[in-house]
Amino acid sequence: MVDRPYLEFERPLVELEKKISDMKDFSVGESIELDSEIASLEKKLARLRKDIYSRLTRWQNVQLSRHPKRPYMLDYVKMITTDFVELHGDRCFADDQAMIGGFAKIDNQPVLVIGQQKGRNTKQKLARNFGMAHPEGYRKALRLFKLAEKFEIPIIVLIDTPGAYPGIGAEERGQAEAIAHNIREMARLRVPIVVVIIGEGASGGALGIGVGDVVMILEYAWYSVISPEGCAAILWRDAAKAPEAAEALRVTSDDLIKLKVVDKVISEPEGGAHRDPTATARLVKKEILAALKELQTKPIEQLLQDRLAKYRSIGEFEER
């Protein structure tokens, strides 16, 4: 796979890949010498890749989660489910294209899938509002959650958002109220909820669909109380200090496991999910199925009790 580099730290890798690819084009059946040269470059590439991705800074990790080729919500729906029927609208105001939901089958089992969707090209990005939902998006999600509960269908949430949209319409229609209600209602939905953070998990915009029995995160995804840029703008008074803010906020999958906010990290191919979306999706599917299987053995009352206990206990403080 040859790409133009998107991230600065990818550049040496992409350059080396290009060199190998050029040599391969040239060498078809030509010389054994060239073949061995290629083999050695490939080894070098593997070493370099390992080296770069084993010591990403938190900010590089955030950048990787925003890679333009990274699989988005609908890519996963395509790769891990069948029979997806998208359901639109909040029955109140509008259909929010930044939030997608519908019924689908995973391994022949009906589920409700919900998540934020980003766009690939400019037109799609605008239509999806960069994955930033309005109140009608959160209300659509809640409407579908209730449908799932009514028909006893488990819920799968795929989170990928730079935040709930901060705009005039969003405030007029009660962004805070919509998110607050979702959080409260999700805490008591009488069906299993499996949450996977697949890209960006920014703030209330993520939590507004993010309360679950099992919360997992992809290796290079992130989850935080505020985006690194937002935090930098407030505390450092300079959005360019985002790398410092990302470090301070501890936003990576590794951090989240240590803070006991997520239950499991789903590993990604070296270089990130976009390097091998199929392999990533296979793992995501496997982990979702495993989580569902375990949750479905629990009586509902137990499930609700455990969910409440889980959120009740998060936080670190001292009692003097």
């Binding site: 607050a180 209600h181 505390l235």
Partner: protein, 284 residues
Amino acid sequence: MEWFKKAKSGIESKEKKNIPEGLWTKCTSCGEIVYSKKMEQLLWVCPNCNFHFRIPSRKYIELILDDGRLDVYDVNLVSKDPLKFKDSKKYPDRIKTAQQKSGALEGVTAGLAAIDGIRVSFAIMDFSFIGGSMGSVVGEKIGRAIERAIENRVPLLIVSSSGGARMQEGILSLMQMAKTSALLAVLAEKRIPYISILTNPTTAGVMASYASLGDVIIAEPKALLGFAGPRVIQQTIGQDLPEGFQSSEFFLEKGFLDKIVERKDLRNTIIKLLRMMWRKSVET
């Protein structure tokens, strides 16, 4: 448990900062100059423009609760520094400064009280404590206040003022939204009333959790209320915000508030509501 009044003098001297000092007070909203003694009588509401000055938690306790009395719980909860967070200042130093300024260990005061003889679980946020931000301790104290309402089967009152989740505790602060909202779901199942009172300002993580989840939501006039801060919205959309945007009046007009209530009428309004909403005959 201790009597709130015992700690009163200590808090009083340190909380002055929110109220303008001196013989004469200039309204920060309209510029009107008012005799400070009169301002005190008016509960720190400008007689000219009705702007409600920020007042310390203790003043609300005196204003709303019977005999100004609150049996305080959980005073010994103290924040830790789980992220070892540092921006221009280390987080523990920020906390220390806030503690010295406010005379309290954290930004919420909570306990049991009575209003016109009705027992209630009461909690109030202190904006002067790191901008009323919600970290693990604030979330825990609000959470315990909700649980006290459930255990004692008494109505819940929360007076909010907050800039949102506390960044210095990162994702753990975000999770306090889930903690408090999940417990409120249980309270709602028990059919125990919750009145949420919003004061200037209540935004972001607190607005997007318990502040928005009252059975009845009331706000003081002209408070700043919303999800995103005005500056963030302005930067995002690249244009000026309309006059009165994100005020209590705006919230009422858009349908997200039950009522705007002036400070002097808070207690009576709450009593009226509770007398009708809270009858012991209501059982789950």
